[in-house]
C-alpha cells in the first residue's frame, strides 16, 4: 500500500468514524443513565438528516446559500429540534416504564423506532432527498490523496462537539448530576437531584448529537432517506459496546475504531467490502470475550 492510499484510507476511516462516534455517544449516555438500549436512536439520527435538508432548502435560496454559516445553522436547528423530540419521546414512551423490567422499555423503544421510520416514510416519501454540498470547497494537497473541506469540517466538528460534551459532563453542575445519576440513581435522588430533569437533559443531548451527525451524513453524501438510520445506528451501537457502554470517551474511541476498521479491512483484504462487517463483528466478539466491559468500561456491580 502506497502512502497515498494509506493516507486516503485514513481519511475515509476518520470521516466514517466521526459519524459513528457522534451517534454512539447518544447510545452510551442513555444506556449509562437509565440502562436502556434506545433502539429509536438511529431513527432520530435520520430525522436530523431531514431537518438539515429542510433548513438547507429553505436557506439556500436566500442570501445565506453560499455562507459558511449555513452548515452550523443546519446542525444547530437539527440538534435543537430532534433533541426536543427526544425529550417528548422519553416523556411519553419511556418515563412511564422507568421502574418496569428492562425488557418493557426496550420493546417500547422498538415501537418508537418503527413509528418514527414509518412516520418519516409517510411524511417525506420513499424517494431519497438529494442536496448539494454545503461544505467549503477547498482542497488540501496531500500527494495523490484527496483531503477536502468536507473531510476537515466533519472531523473537526465531531471533535469539537465531543470536546464540548466532555467539558459539560466534567465541569458543570448538570454534568455532575448526570454522572451521579448514572452511578446510582436512588442515591442521587436521595441527594436531591431531580432525576427526571437529568434524564430529560441526557435525552436532549444524546439525540441532538445524533441529529448533528445525521445532518453531516446527509450533507456529505447528498442523500437522505427514511431508512438511513438503521445501518448507521447498528454500527454506532457496536461502537458504543466496543468502547465500553456507558463511557463517553469509550464511545468516541469506539466510533473511530469501527470507522478505521471498516476502511482498512476493505482496503487490505481481497473482496474486503463484502467481508468488512464480518471483520467488524469478529473484532467485537473477540473483545467481548477478552474484555466484556469494552475498552473504557467498568464491570457492572451487581
Amino acid at each position: 500500500m502506497t502512502f497515498d492510499v494509506l493516507a486516503q484510507q485514513l481519511i475515509n476511516g476518520l470521516v466514517l468514524g466521526s459519524f459513528y462516534a457522534l451517534v454512539a455517544l447518544g447510545y452510551t449516555m442513555i444506556y449509562g443513565i437509565i440502562r436502556l438500549w434506545n433502539l429509536a436512536h438511529g431513527d432520530l439520527f435520520m430525522l436530523g438528516g431531514f431537518a438539515g435538508f429542510y433548513v438547507f432548502s429553505a436557506l439556500s435560496s436566500s442570501g445565506l446559500g453560499e455562507s459558511w454559516l449555513l452548515l452550523p445553522i443546519m446542525m444547530l436547528t437539527a440538534l435543537v429540534a430532534v433533541g426536543l423530540l427526544s425529550v417528548v419521546i422519553d416523556r411519553i414512551a419511556y418515563r412511564p416504564l422507568r421502574n418496569a423490567p428492562p425488557l418493557a422499555p426496550l420493546l417500547s423503544a422498538l415501537g418508537v423506532s418503527i413509528f418514527l421510520q414509518n412516520g418519516a416514510l409517510l411524511a417525506f416519501g420513499a424517494r431519497p432527498k438529494t442536496m448539494a454540498s454545503p461544505f467549503p470547497g477547498f482542497q488540501i494537497p496531500l500527494g495523490g490523496a484527496v483531503l477536502n473541506g468536507s473531510h476537515v469540517v466533519i472531523v473537526v466538528s465531531a471533535l469539537l462537539l465531543m470536546l464540548g460534551l466532555h467539558l459539560f459532563v466534567t465541569y458543570t453542575t448538570m454534568g455532575k448530576a448526570m454522572r451521579a445519576t448514572a452511578q446510582d440513581r436512588e442515591m442521587a435522588m436521595l441527594m436531591g437531584i431531580n432525576i427526571d430533569h437529568v434524564i430529560a437533559v441526557t435525552f436532549f443531548i444524546g439525540a441532538g448529537l445524533g441529529a448533528a451527525s445525521g445532518v453531516m451524513v446527509g450533507a456529505y453524501y447528498g442523500v437522505i432517506n427514511y431508512s438511513m438510520g438503521f445501518l448507521n445506528g447498528l454500527r454506532a451501537f457496536t461502537s458504543a459496546i466496543l468502547g465500553g457502554i456507558g463511557s463517553i470517551p469509550g464511545a468516541m474511541l469506539g466510533g473511530m475504531l469501527i470507522g478505521l476498521l471498516e476502511s482498512f479491512s476493505t482496503a487490505l483484504l481481497p473482496s474486503g467490502s463484502a467481508w468488512k462487517d464480518v471483520i467488524v463483528f469478529a473484532v467485537l466478539i473477540g473483545f467481548l470475550i477478552l474484555r466484556p466491559q469494552g475498552i473504557f468500561g467498568t464491570r457492572t456491580r451487581i
Binding site: 417500547s108 495523490g144 442523500v223 482496503a267
Partner: protein, 430 residues
C-alpha cells in the same frame, strides 16, 4: 402476588407496543407520491377504472363506452356484470419505489383506456387490483397469495425487481395464472421451468452483449473493475459481465460486492483507484449507483462509469449530480426514438400530468398484452388467458412489436447504449 404484580407491570409496555404497531400497519403502504392523480389507497386498492378518466372522452371511444356504461342493465350471457380483475404487484413504497410507481401508473392508464374503448369481454369491465410488495421477496409471496386467492383476478403485471419476481412466481404457476413483469431482467426469472412467466423487457445477457460491444469499440484492451450489490439482479448481471469481459481476455482486477443501503464506498473506491482501471462496471440499483459515481469523482477515480438498466431511474441522476454526466448504460430506447410510443406518451401526460419515465412503457405493453389475451381467450379463465399470452406474436405494443419465446422472454431485442446528457438519459447516437 409479586409474580402477578410483575406481569401487570409489563402490561403498559405491551399495550404501548401494540398501539404503535397498530398505528404503523396502515401506514405501510402510502400512495405513490409521484402520481398525484392515482387513487391508490393503503393496502389493496381496487381502482375500478370508470369513465372519469380523460381517455373516456375520446370521440372514437365514446359509443363503445356508452354501451358499456350500464353493464348491469344488459347482462351478458357469461358472468353478468362481474368485473374481470387484472393485478398489479410490485414495490410502490420503500426505497426504490419510483421504479414500481412508473409501471403502476402505466398499468392503470392501460386498464382505463381498455374500459373506455370497451376493449374487454362483452358486458364486463376490467378492474385493476394494486398490491404493494415494497420490493421485499417475503411481501412479494404474500401479495401473490392474496391475488391468487381472489378468483376474479385472471392475470398479473409484476413484480418489479428480479429477486421478488423469482420468489413470487411459483404461487402464480400453481394457480395457472400468467405473470408479466415489466422490469425484471435477470435470466433466472424465466429459467424456473414454469410456463406462466413472461416479460416485456429484455434479458441481462442481451445488455451485457451490448456493453461488451460498446467497450470493445472504444477501448482496445481495457482494465475493468466490477462492483455489485449482492442481490439477484445486481450480482447476476455482474457475473454475466465478468464472464463476457473475461472471454474477450480483458483484465478484471476487482469483482466485489457492497451492501445495499450503505452510503460510503470510499474505502473500496480508493482501493480501486490504486489499480487505475479504465472502466468501472456497476451491477445494482440507482441509489448506490449514484453514490458510487459521485464518490468516484470526489476521489479522482477517472474510470468510465458503466452500468445497465438497474440505474434507469432519475434517482441516479439526482444523486450523482454532475458526476452522472457521461456515464454509460444499457437501457431501453428513449420514448422520443420510438414512433410507436407517441400515443402512449401523450395519453400518459394527459392522465398523470407527468412524462412517462423508466419502465412505464413496458408496464403499459404488459397490460395491453393481457387485455388482448383476454379477448382472444374469449373467457375470463386464468389458464386460457395464460395460454393466449404465451401465443402472443407481433402484438403492436407502444415499445414495438411484442412476441414471447418458449421461455416467456421477449423475442425482440431492445437494449441500446445510452448516456446521461444535461441531466437526462439519452441514447448514444453512432
Amino acid at each position: 402476588v409479586s409474580r402477578i404484580m410483575k406481569t401487570v407491570r409489563w402490561l403498559p409496555g405491551f399495550v404501548a407496543l401494540l398501539t404503535l404497531v397498530a398505528a404503523c400497519a396502515p401506514a405501510a403502504a402510502p400512495p405513490p407520491p409521484t402520481a398525484p392523480a392515482a387513487p391508490a389507497a393503503p393496502g389493496a386498492t381496487s381502482a375500478p377504472a370508470a369513465g372519469a378518466s380523460p381517455a373516456a372522452a375520446q370521440p372514437a371511444a365514446s359509443p363503445a363506452a356508452a354501451a358499456q356504461a350500464s353493464p348491469a342493465a344488459k347482462p351478458a350471457a357469461a358472468s353478468p356484470g362481474k368485473p374481470i380483475k387484472v393485478g398489479f404487484a410490485g414495490g410502490i413504497s420503500g426505497d426504490a419505489a419510483k421504479v414500481g410507481q412508473d409501471v403502476q401508473t402505466a398499468v392503470q392508464l392501460a386498464v382505463e383506456q381498455a374500459n373506455a374503448k370497451g376493449d374487454t369481454l362483452p358486458g364486463q369491465k376490467l378492474e385493476l387490483v394494486t398490491l404493494d410488495d415494497k420490493n421485499d421477496p417475503r411481501e412479494g409471496v404474500s401479495v401473490a397469495n392474496r391475488l391468487v386467492a381472489d378468483a376474479d383476478v385472471v392475470a398479473v403485471v409484476g413484480h418489479v425487481f428480479s429477486g421478488i419476481s423469482v420468489a413470487a412466481q411459483p404461487v402464480y404457476r400453481d394457480a395457472k395464472m400468467a405473470m408479466i413483469t415489466a422490469v425484471s431482467t435477470s435470466p433466472k426469472v424465466t429459467e424456473q421451468g414454469s410456463n406462466n412467466v413472461f416479460r416485456t423487457v429484455g434479458r441481462d445477457e442481451q445488455q451485457v452483449v451490448i456493453a461488451t460491444e460498446a467497450i470493445a469499440k472504444k477501448w482496445p484492451n481495457p482494465k475493468i473493475a466490477i462492483l455489485h450489490d449482492k442481490q439477484t439482479f445486481g450480482q447476476g448481471i455482474a457475473e454475466l459481465a465478468r464472464d463476457s469481459f473475461g472471454k474477450k481476455g480483458w483484465a478484471i482486477d476487482t469483482f466485489e460486492g457492497i451492501t445495499a443501503g450503505e452510503k460510503d464506498f470510499t474505502p473500496l473506491l480508493t482501493k480501486i483507484k490504486a489499480q487505475n482501471p479504465d472502466i468501472l462496471y456497476w451491477g445494482g440499483l440507482s441509489t448506490e449507483g449514484g453514490l458510487i459515481a459521485k464518490q468516484m469523482k470526489q476521489l479522482g477515480l477517472n474510470a468510465q462509469f458503466f452500468s445497465n438498466d438497474g440505474i434507469w431511474d432519475t434517482t441516479f441522476i439526482e444523486i450523482a449530480g454532475p458526476a452522472a454526466e457521461g456515464a454509460l448504460m444499457t437501457i431501453g430506447p428513449s420514448l422520443e426514438d420510438l414512433p410507436s410510443a407517441k400515443d402512449f406518451a401523450e395519453a400518459y401526460k394527459k392522465r398523470f400530468n407527468a412524462e412517462p419515465t423508466g419502465y412505464a412503457v413496458y408496464g403499459y405493453d404488459a397490460t395491453n398484452v393481457i387485455v388482448d389475451a383476454i379477448k382472444r381467450a374469449g373467457k375470463a379463465d386464468r389458464d386460457a388467458v395464460r395460454a393466449a399470452v404465451a401465443s402472443t406474436k407481433g402484438f403492436a405494443g407502444a415499445s414495438g412489436p411484442v412476441s414471447f419465446d418458449q421461455k416467456g422472454d421477449r423475442v425482440e431485442r431492445y437494449y441500446v447504449l445510452s448516456t446521461v446528457k444535461s441531466g437526462k438519459f439519452a441514447t448514444v447516437k453512432e
